[in-house]
């Protein structure tokens, strides 16, 4: 095994968080009007991957599972500096929950002989955070979630991460291959270079793999999704009283009321 690492970055195309609405009649999400963008935490993941490449050497490959137009997020990743990208696209993937989704990404990471997989900590649409541990579990690889700092040790086939946990931090060393879930906002994503962006948006062509290419046709899609969405509705956002009081005493009274209730 060479010292150079193959760093795989799964990225996701999501509806622009500010623009999604619920159709009041059908109760379903109206995603079509919202422009599709790269999941915000994935920018931090790509940046973390690029930083690992700078220190450990190797190449960064972005991967996404989605319909053909999801290639746009691969172009974004390549513009930022990823060396290559793979689009996993197949009707068979339709309706997948996190189980088959992480399987597909795990199979791709395995196929690419990844040493490190760096994921955004969660997506802004479903926000489960389950895919990174899922990828690790499917492949029987180590995992490092809530990572805010990474230290590559390619000579020792190890990656060290600082994990942000309740009440403090821990530093954990994991054997490669390892799956990282990188914290949202934990680094400063770089801007895409001008010529790199032109390249990514014009000449670059991602590889395309189907479920069959990965040998997982029978293991993905709705039929292989343990969870099903039973229904969706608009959230009853907390109805706030929005009472503005004139003086501090009135406010103190309110607070005392609240804290007195046990």
């Amino acid at each position: 095994m060479t010292d150079d690492w193959t760093i795989v970055v799964p990225v996701k195309q999501v509806p622009d968080a500010d623009d999604v609405t619920i159709d009041p009649e059908t109760g379903t999400l109206n995603r079509s009007d919202a422009p599709a963008v790269l999941n915000a935490p994935d920018y931090n993941a790509v940046e973390a991957a690029l930083s690992l490449r700078e220190r450990a050497g190797g190449e960064v490959v972005a991967v996404t599972m989605g319909p053909p137009f999801a290639r746009a997020v691969l172009e974004t990743a390549v513009a930022l500096g990823a060396d290559d990208a793979v689009l996993l696209t197949d009707r068979a993937f339709g309706g997948s929950d996190t189980w088959p989704t992480s399987l597909a990404l795990a199979a791709a990471a395995d196929e690419l002989e990844a040493d490190v997989v760096v994921c955004g900590e969660e997506s802004t649409d479903s926000s489960t955070g389950q895919v990174p541990p899922g990828i690790a579990a499917h492949n029987g690889w180590a995992q490092l979630t809530y990572a805010e700092e990474l230290e590559p040790r390619p000579d020792a086939d190890e990656l060290v991460a600082v994990r942000n946990v309740e009440g403090g931090h821990e530093r954990v060393a994991a054997e490669t291959p390892v799956v990282v879930a990188f914290e949202y906002g934990a680094n400063e994503p770089r801007a895409a270079g001008l010529h790199r962006k032109i390249y990514a948006e014009t000449e670059f062509e991602p590889e395309q793999w189907s479920a069959e290419d990965l040998g997982i046709t029978d293991d993905v899609g709705l039929a292989n999704s343990p969870t099903q969405v039973g229904g969706m509705d608009t959230a009853d956002r907390a109805e706030r009283e929005q009472t503005v009081v004139e003086d501090v005493d009135a406010l103190a009274d309110r607070i005392a009321e609240v804290t007195a209730d046990d």
Partner: protein, 444 residues
Amino acid sequence: METPNYDNEFDAIVVGAGLAGSAAALTMASQDLDVLVLERGQSPGTKNVFGGVLYTPTVRELVDVDDAPLQRYVAEKRYGMLTETDETAVTMRPGEWLQEPHNDSYTVLRGSFDEWFAEQAVDAGATLLTETTVTDLVREGDREDGRVVGVETDRPDGTIRAPVVVVAEGANSLVSEGAGLRDHHDREDVAVAAKEVLQFDRDTIEERFHLDGDQGVAYNYFGEGAVGDAVGGGFIYTNKRTVSVGVAYSIEDAAAGRQNPQDTLDAFKQHPAVAPLVRGGRTVEYSAHAIPEGGIDAVPDLVSDGALLAGDAAGLVLNNGVHLEGTNMAVESGYRAGRAVAAAVDDGRVDDRALATYPEALAESFVVRNLQHYDFFQELAVDDREFLFSELPRALADAETEYFAVDREPKEAHAEAAKDRLLDATGGYVGAAKRAWKYRKLLS
């Protein structure tokens, strides 16, 4: 990681994917040129502000207008003169406007239209990069008078070269000024505009403005009731489900502290003639922008050192009080610039002599001809502001009140009084005649 270098891979770089930029890019791409368009906004149109109405004669030459995201066509125009309390207006609904092509006048939302228009250029083969701001032009040998051979942007490794650069950066023309292609706009040559987009539902808009289907209105107001004692006016345009209401006036007045755009806009919205039209709308957007209004004298050299200027960056906006046109001027200039570049590239020569076909063609076109014809107007409006914006509106209001007064007096007296009031304001018949002479060019 190997990244190709795109220096001189493109035949032309276009700065800005607004109306002028996309028109230029589309024209060049249709002639098989490789064009790179650099837009600073997240998508084309996000940084663009106008009243406004899109005038489509040239647009129609370039694209299929039926596919474009248009809001309403202008079925009715109104010119209103406002004192603080009165309105005197002329409303026009020529039957012809109700038929295709609707006098080539449509309201649009820039975020949608510009994005679509830029897409047409991309479909024709242009490359569009968004979220990329051009910060400077690159000159050969870094010499102040060196040929323009590319642009610098705010991205890492952000310099790229090309034989021709079309600068369509809009009214805030920092790049062309910084590169010495034009002077900074004189105060007196710029207007400031503030605009709100108010949300209603279709039914409310149609009822309130008496519209059917895709019909829309374009209202323009001036007078002291519109923008106080500044030189300028207010406007209302109807979109499908929203109404654009705004004010635009000379930046000299703004700077002198006489007015602040937000307050001016609020006051305009509260005018008794305007308030009922905008009542109840939810503000979904507020924007402010500059409008070049220097007329023909403020238009710089359109070609210099291998760079072409188009649209607002070249000061190509017509404002003679009744005609407020920037969109068609931008598209026409972009189109002409594109054609000139394509012809020059075809000929294998892109020096200024070869590119001169651009200003030459523009000089023959309505763009320059109109600017020249109305070049008297701006100065005249400023000189005559007291009369135009205060005395005349007041005189008309008083005269109307007098003339149409209902009482038990004989009408003759009222008519007399109305006439006297008007002549008072104009300086008698002679004064009126002098004025008519001064403003004759507006009608010829």
